[in-house]
Symmetry: C2
Subunit: 415 residues, 2 copies
């Protein structure tokens, strides 16, 4: 992973290529990168609402369309984008070529609608780069070994870009988005939020999984695994964005703060099961039933058993509420409990920072800050570099603000 | 070419799959064919205006988009159709699979936007048919040897269907359209026009090239070359349509009329070059200049030279008028002529019939009929089974009506 070949991968999302004018702007940006000496591979998503429009079209034909055919349908969105971007680049006098996932050599497994990349044959891309062309690759898509078109699921174009950067040994992978980079907190809530200059993969993973929406989890995992340096930046200006790279490289450059960012997630529902008969294996049965329906359970708290009866609380994503109700109904006949409560008035607030590993007292400081704002903590979960608290949804904004200033994220750091 | 394997190819154009309801109707029709014992391959075009919409989108990005990228763009139209039709068939409980041109093994030459099929690897299609599936193939598209997407140009989906019928040794190829079949004349002009039950390839070619729009010339040529039986019929009813097949097969079944159909073409412009110095090679220079601009010249008439000066008239398609004017300007400096006249008030009327070959006097009867209607004949051209006359555009309807009744096409035949 030397990056000495001077290749960069630039990824533009659907809003960045939403109409002909925006496509022309992306073309200009890509040509500029080429002019400054890089060999450029561009990954694009489908234009604006194209994917949603295609899904709606399919819904008029079938209530539950087959996944193979859905991938056949949706992959046309990116194919349209790459052709138009190639035309726009050509119109500005520069040479380029568009490649579908298939033509770019992206081989996936057989899981339609949520495929994983298993290998990339980069020979065609390298050949086109060698002939001086800007190479434009359709994001989100690949083919399985039978030659059938697959799509990579949510955040798929980010994953395409990172995977290409890995197999092309690119200098780095630039993710263009509608924000300037990753911030210490949501700027819509905390006006003093600052752009973070550098993050480790682990921090980015924790931020992404605890509410920051700027990068998709899977793409960051892929970057981490293959050591691809990411640069998250705005498609509307030339400002330096946020670099995401190996922790060791960041430490060389700057003194790391204890807490890097504050995130929140209001897409949470808290389920409490009361009067649960406390016998061995009961928790396994309870959560097994949710797992069987592909419901991800996030935080879990079990109260101390009294007289052989306990209470278990856990959180799930809001979108799974309806199916969770059915699961609870079904459990009535299989395990013994008195009642179950579903509470959607909760949210999760988290602090993330690699520095936590070497600093004691971060958790107690977080609880102090929340307590100082009269915010009750309902549940707690931690990782080595993250602490999350479930609180009342109505308190989220004040919690984020208090944590951001309490951990001094509003002060200029010597980064 | 035995057709004993029970395969039929069904081709549906853009209007037949114009919206979700129409796609569902096509699905029903295809399933019915399968239920009656055939193994079914379906070829579909892009939905309704999709192709035009994509062309317009491209025009907003580039005045003259590259042909490779244009094919990349336009081929998405058919890809959308095949996915939706597969969903519709599945929704009705039948098993099917959609294949792009690439997946269907359709290999073309390198001529983007107007590619020719050079081979078809039918193994995937046969495998899917064997597993009991209805196979849906994207019309109009293929890939070249480099794996790049090509399109077949106008009428391309008809060509795809006929080519597949050929390599699959299909019983026949059904071309579904918005009319009931091929008629003895345009029913909008001649209310007594009758549907033709059987036509030879040669007749169909002459009809298609002289104005009948129901089948594209290239597809008929392909069918002729590979002896594919065509059945042109309506996508809106179950009526028997028009069969197109080898002349020898038709003769076995029915007594053939002398004239099979009357066609017209109002998309004609007559150019007359006056005072042309009559020296050897001047015609070659004149028409060479038009050929260099890809202008197809149809009828040509040269007046007898008087005093070393002659007049040449010829017809071209209306769409080439502007460029023809430029060619004539350019010729001024290279060959000697006095003036040139461009007349768009003309049209071509033709009679077609394999029986002409064995019947004398057909031409003189045609001229008599036109003369009887006071229609002046400006130019004449013939083939062994066609006679065409250029007349005033305003006389077209009366000419078609008179020829239709004069050759007794309005009488029931024992076909």
């Amino acid at each position: 992973m030397t990056g000495k070949n001077g290749i960069i991968v630039m990824k533009f999302g659907g809003t960045s290529v939403g109409d002909p004018e925006k496509i022309a702007r992306v073309a200009g940006r890509v040509i500029k990168a080429k002019s400054s000496g890089s060999r450029v591979v561009v990954v694009v998503s489908a234009m604006g609402d194209t994917t949603d429009d295609l899904i709606e079209l399919a819904s008029k034909i079938s209530i539950n369309p087959g996944r193979r055919e859905m991938d056949m349908l949706l992959s046309t969105g990116e194919q349209i984008s790459i052709a138009l971007l190639a035309m726009a680049i050509s119109e500005k006098g520069c040479s380029s070529i568009s490649l579908t996932g298939n033509q770019a050599g992206i081989i996936t497994d057989e899981v339609y609608s949520n495929a994983k990349i298993i290998s990339i044959n980069n020979s065609r891309i390298l050949r086109e780069l060698k002939s001086g062309k800007i190479v434009i690759v359709a994001g989100f898509q690949g083919v399985n070994n039978a030659g059938d078109i697959t799509t990579l699921g949510r955040g798929g174009s980010d994953t395409t870009a990172v995977a290409l950067a890995a197999v092309l040994d690119a200098k780095h992978c630039e993710i263009y988005t509608d924000v300037d980079g990753v911030y210490t907190a949501d700027p819509n809530i905390v006006s003093e939020a600052k752009k973070i200059k550098g993050l480790s993969y682990e921090e980015m993973l924790e931020l992404a999984s605890s509410g920051a929406k700027v990068l998709h989890l899977r793409a960051v995992e892929f970057a981490n695994k293959h050591n691809v340096v990411l640069h998250v930046r705005s498609s509307f200006n030339d400002n330096e964005g946020t670099w995401v790279m190996d922790e060791s490289k960041i430490i060389e450059k700057m003194e790391r703060p204890v807490v890097t960012g504050v995130t929140y997630d209001t897409n949470q529902v808290k389920i409490t099961v009361f009067g649960l008969k406390d016998i061995p294996g009961i928790a396994a049965k309870l959560f097994g039933a949710f797992a069987a329906e592909n419901i991800n359970v996030d935080l879990i708290v079990q109260n101390i058993s009294e007289k052989g009866v306990s209470t278990i609380s856990f959180t799930i994503g809001n979108e799974d509420t309806a199916i969770a109700k059915k699961v609870l109904e079904g459990l009535k006949s299989r395990i013994e409990f008195s009642t179950a409560d579903i509470n959607s008035a909760v949210a999760k607030v988290s602090i993330v920072g690699a520095g936590m590993q070497t600093h004691a007292g971060v958790a107690s400081k977080m609880f102090d800050i929340l307590s100082g704002e009269n915010i009750n903590i309902e549940m707690i979960s931690t990782s080595p570099i993250r602490i999350s608290c479930v609180i009342l949804k109505e308190k989220v904004k004040s919690a984020v603000k208090a944590l951001h200033s309490g951990f001094e994220l509003d002060r200029e750091k010597g980064l």
